[in-house]
């Protein structure tokens, strides 16, 4: 996690545009003010000095202060994290419910028209730019937080459809059907367990996908979550914010993926 934060900081520090401020273009500012502004952004600090300073402050529980919003990072994150959690939670719930349910329906029914319809729906949602979807939500006055669900759904559907379809074609499943087992039993006892580890891995990845998708979504829809904060921080090269946000995303990704790995291994052991 720390590595993620530091690597993120390196990327930001080395990328062009670090340490500049659009206020430098204000023609009222004197030479001294501009020089002072540049010095305060740490443009000239070497990377090593920068790291040590950050680690030292972190050791004392200080996450630093956001340069662009002039407030403590800890306070900003605490204010905005619940918003993102709500959006991501709702998005994942909707995406998985819709995606997984449709995938099961397609695989179990084997109806080509259902497959075509679902794939078309997923295709349309994949092809619609996020900005257009956000706009449509605003036009129909639907809660924009559900937008994440529509971003997650096509990926969940497509992967789970293929995984379940492959499991459904395995010999032991065919045998189970031949022996007269009902659809529900075949699904719960034979198809899902086989595809389980991969689906759990997908679940872990979808958390990270949702978090990543939350950034442009919150920026587009003006939702005051950490996604919007990350976008502003990226555009403003706000290293203090970016390190911490990268670490949060790394932590969430690691936790989600580790948890899904653990469940996957447990289910294999149980089987």
């Amino acid at each position: 996690m720390l590595l993620g934060g530091l690597l993120g900081a390196t990327l930001v520090r080395l990328a062009p545009g670090f340490g500049v401020d659009e206020e430098e273009l204000d023609s009222r500012l004197s030479k001294q003010s501009i020089q002072a502004m540049r010095a305060s952004h740490g443009y000239d600090d070497r990377l090593g000095v920068f790291y040590l300073d950050y680690l030292n402050r972190l050791a004392h529980g200080d996450l630093g202060t956001s340069r662009t919003l002039d407030r403590p990072v800890a306070q900003l994150v605490a204010e905005r994290f619940p918003e993102t959690l709500e959006s991501v939670g709702l998005g994942l719930a909707l995406g998985w419910t819709l995606g997984f349910a449709l995938a099961i329906a397609v695989v179990m029914s084997r109806a080509w028209y259902l497959d075509l319809f679902s794939s078309l729906l997923a295709g349309i949602l994949l092809c619609l730019p996020a900005a257009v979807m956000a706009l449509l939500f605003v036009v129909v006055q639907a809660p924009v937080r559900l937008l994440l669900g529509l971003v997650v759904f096509p990926k969940v559907f497509r992967y789970s459809r293929n995984l379940l379809a492959r499991s459904a074609d395995l010999p032991h499943v065919l045998t189970a059907r031949a022996k007269g087992l009902g659809n529900l039993r075949v699904l719960l006892w034979h198809i899902l367990p086989t595809a389980g580890p991969q689906l759990l891995a997908l679940a872990g990845v979808s958390v990270s996908v949702a978090f990543t998708a939350a950034i442009p979504m919150e920026a587009l829809c003006d939702i005051p979550g950490i996604g919007q904060l990350a976008w502003k921080a990226a555009l403003g090269r706000d290293v203090a914010l970016l390190i911490n946000l990268t670490m949060i995303v790394t932590l969430v990704t690691m936790v989600a993926n580790s948890f899904s790995d653990f469940l996957g291994k447990s289910s294999r052991t149980a089987a």
Partner: protein
């Protein structure tokens, strides 16, 4: 005529008062979160909005007439060759938290403003020379401020200085303006409530402002903002894009307001920095006046104004917009679109057309890039139009859109660019606000910043003229100097001025006494006199 306008204002204000509903709330959007609530540091649009709505100033530039009017100061006098200003202040006023207002507060504000460690952009406008700024409080309502060197247009600069309390425990949150910040949900909205101690009253003695509160939503998405306006969820859009303006005007003409040309301009410039990492032959092109004039003449400004801005812009002649009534040099006209003349100028510098491609005297094909900030549709379109225009004289233009920090780094630090297309947002009428653009030694002398000595004779002349106008108290003489600066800019084209945009705004019919103007803030410049009609009141 003045009596008639006073009578009309009286009638309008009285009727507004009658129509104003208790508990009313004005709603509009900010495009970003304010970076600061400290009025001395406000430099971004959102912070300046908060400052305008909450700050009390000594003098106010009337956005409609462009005249300077008394506010917290009832009278003022400039003496000592423009170095000293004395204010007579209103008696018996209080800040929004009840703290009494006096000359001590003005002295405190000025000392804070001029503190070199603060680096306030507003403060830097007052910096005329080395030395300390002296403040002398003669009595409770009289203060004299003396600057180390004369400042031309000194009084008008106080329009930007919101007075802070020296004694209040609320610090910068205690204000003298019509509203104070009551609630701030970070990233989401800000609510301002009526300042119970606001000093202004309407002609019949009602306390102003009429509107109880102002709700500012933080909304970056312009489509969503437009939809909310049409649904009645917000009351106005202070600055609306041309394509939305036309759409709105088609649906409801009464809502769409075109206040005419604004102070803003869009311009392109070539990189003339000697140390720039460019090939020598390109530096020779960009430093040639003929080359710049030719490029300027090859660009069709009329088409730009018509197509990109839907007719809500006009070709620009120079650094000053016609909206700046006093300072605009009316003798200057925009460079005409004339590709023949452009090619003739280029021929003088040894360029020639070969197979439809323009080449310099060494045979290099003329190709350069123009950088502009991404996300600005108008600039992207303008750059694309310039591509076609310049291809008419055999020049290949590459359009590169960059994120703003990368762009700023290129134009201020690395100088790794060839041409840049940006806009100038002008809030101040006085040419002193542009001093640092024209002084060759300045960091914001965009085409070639921080010159140790002026690189050209004309830049030396501009330096002399700008310094002369800055230290001369006579407005007529100042205008003479600045007219000449505009003429030199027109001849030499360090900036190729493209268009001056119109000030477009959209206002719901429920807002009364609104008179959109070209100067910022276009719609709510008279916020304390606005009212919301009870006839159109709705539950929010």
């Amino acid at each position: 005529m003045k009596k008639l306008s006073y009578c009309l204002s009286f009638v309008v204000l009285v009727s507004s008062a009658m129509l104003a509903q208790a508990g009313s709330e004005l709603r509009f959007c900010l495009r970003a979160e304010p970076k600061t609530f400290n009025p001395l540091l406000a430099a971004d649009d959102a912070s300046e909005t908060i400052r305008y709505l909450t700050g009390g100033v000594l003098l106010r530039v009337n956005r409609l007439t462009q005249d300077l009017e008394p506010e917290l100061a009832t009278d003022w006098k400039i003496t000592n060759g423009g170095k000293t200003i004395t204010f007579e202040l209103r008696d018996g006023l209080q800040f929004s938290d009840g703290t009494p207002f006096s000359a001590e507060d003005v002295a405190y504000t000025v000392q804070q403003l001029m503190d070199p460690a603060l680096h306030s952009p507003t403060g830097d406008s007052f910096r005329s020379g080395e030395g300390k700024v002296e403040t002398r409080v003669a009595r409770k309502n009289r203060i004299t401020i003396t600057f180390p060197a004369p400042i031309a247009g000194l009084d008008r600069l106080f329009d930007q200085v919101a007075v802070m309390s020296a004694k209040s425990s609320q610090k910068e949150m205690a204000v003298l303006g019509p509203y104070y910040v009551a609630e701030n949900k970070a990233g989401s909205y800000i609510v301002l409530k009526r300042n119970p101690y606001y000093w202004r009253k309407d002609p019949v003695g009602h306390a102003l402002p009429y509107i109880e509160s102002v709700h500012l939503d933080i909304q970056q998405n312009r489509d969503a903002e437009m939809l909310r306006l049409t649904r009645g969820q917000i009351d106005f859009i202070n600055s609306i894009d041309a394509e939305y303006f036309d759409k709105l005007a088609a649906q409801d003409p009464a809502m769409a307001h075109d206040a005419g040309v604004s102070l803003d301009s869009e311009q392109m410039w070539f990189n003339q920095v000697v140390s720039a990492p460019l090939p020598v032959y390109k530096k020779m092109w960009f430093t040639s006046t003929n080359f710049r004039r030719a490029v300027s003449e090859a660009i069709n400004r009329e088409d730009m104004a018509r197509i990109v801005f839907h007719g809500h812009a006009r070709p620009a002649a120079g650094p000053v917009s016609p909206a700046n009534k006093f300072w605009f040099n009316a003798k200057l006209a925009p460079h005409p679109f004339d590709q023949k003349s452009a090619l003739q100028r280029l021929t003088q510098d040894g360029f020639h057309l070969q197979g439809g491609v323009l080449r310099d005297h060494e045979g290099h094909a003329v190709e350069f890039s123009v950088i502009t900030n991404s996300g600005n549709k108008y600039r992207e379109r303008m750059a694309t139009m310039m591509q076609q225009d310049l291809s008419g004289i055999g020049i290949k233009l590459n359009v590169v859109t960059l994120d703003f920090p990368s762009l700023i780094e290129r134009i201020t630090r690395t100088f790794d660019y060839e041409a840049c297309l940006l806009g100038l947002v002008n809030d101040d009428l006085d040419p002193n606000a542009q001093m640092n653009v024209w002084l060759s030694s300045s960091d914001t002398h965009q085409w070639n910043p921080s010159e140790k000595t002026p690189a050209t004779a004309w830049e030396a002349e501009v330096d002399r003229l700008m310094r002369a106008q800055a230290s001369n108290p006579n407005p007529k003489k100042r205008k003479e100097y600045y007219d000449r600066v505009q003429e030199i800019a027109w001849e030499q084209e360090p900036f190729i001025y493209l268009v001056n945009k119109n000030a477009l705004s959209a206002v719901s019919a429920s807002v009364h006494n609104v008179h959109p103007v070209a100067l910022r803030p276009q719609v709510y410049w008279n916020v304390d006199e606005l009212s919301l009609s009870s006839e159109f009141a709705r539950n929010r």
